[in-house]
């Protein structure tokens, strides 16, 4: 069956450094992936998405990389800021979203 998971449950990053959050998926038929950010007490907030016909997509300070060969997805955040502290989820859309457990990112000042 389908499953989406993140490699590490927590990530501590120095302010100003780049962050990399990883995600593995098992459904090779998945053709759409999404990253969400969730702050305490709030709902998930859309960050960036990517379709399976792409390897890379860039947004503002964020880049998503998709490696279909090893079924791996990553989110890179450039120049991490304190406001980036949150839980990050990757999800597949097929059409309903299937979320992993999330990675908690803590930014150290």
């Amino acid at each position: 069956g389908e499953s989406v998971g993140l490699h590490l449950p927590t990530l501590s990053v120095q302010e100003g450094d780049n962050s990399i959050i990883n995600c593995a998926y098992s459904n090779s038929a998945s053709d759409y992936f999404i990253w969400y950010k969730q702050e305490s007490g709030k709902g998930p907030q859309f960050i960036i998405d990517i379709r399976s016909n792409m390897d890379k997509r860039q947004g503002q300070r964020v880049t998503v990389l998709l490696n279909k060969t090893v079924k791996h997805l990553s989110l890179q955040i450039a120049a991490t800021q304190p406001g980036d502290s949150a839980v990050y989820f990757c999800a597949e859309n097929f059409p309903k979203l299937s979320f992993g457990a999330g990675t908690t990112v803590t930014v150290r000042a």
Partner: protein, 116 residues
């Protein structure tokens, strides 16, 4: 409205009580989704609607859970005879398009249900 609105934000129920959670999606959004998020976990799909039609309810945990969207806009998630394991945050999301293409779901802040 500007975003997805959910009410109540917090609900405390005694075991066995019925609860109703409301979702006001973004105006014009065709699809509406309900998710359940346990503490420290990712959201789990419950059900979704395209307009007033409930296309998938495979995630509803039991027949105590019921969702409706009678006019294709506001939706209500009802939980009958609540149990302690129903304690969670219930998230509603809406999206502009139908269910077959890529969907960017916009989530509400959620309704936190605590069953005592």
């Amino acid at each position: 409205g500007a975003g997805v609105s959910q009410s109540p934000r917090y609900k405390v129920a005694k075991r066995g009580q019925d609860v109703a959670l409301r979702c006001d999606p973004i105006s014009g959004h065709v699809s509406l989704f309900w998710y359940q998020q346990a503490l420290g976990q990712g959201p789990e799909f419950l059900t979704y609607f395209q307009n007033e039609a409930q296309l998938d309810k495979s995630g509803l945990p039991s027949d105590r859970f019921f969702a409706e969207r009678p006019e294709g806009s506001v939706s209500t998630l009802k939980i009958q005879r609540t149990q302690q394991e129903d304690s969670a945050v219930y998230l509603c999301a809406s999206s502009l398009g139908g269910p077959t293409g890529p969907n960017v779901l916009t989530f509400g802040a959620g309704s936190r249900l605590t069953v005592l």
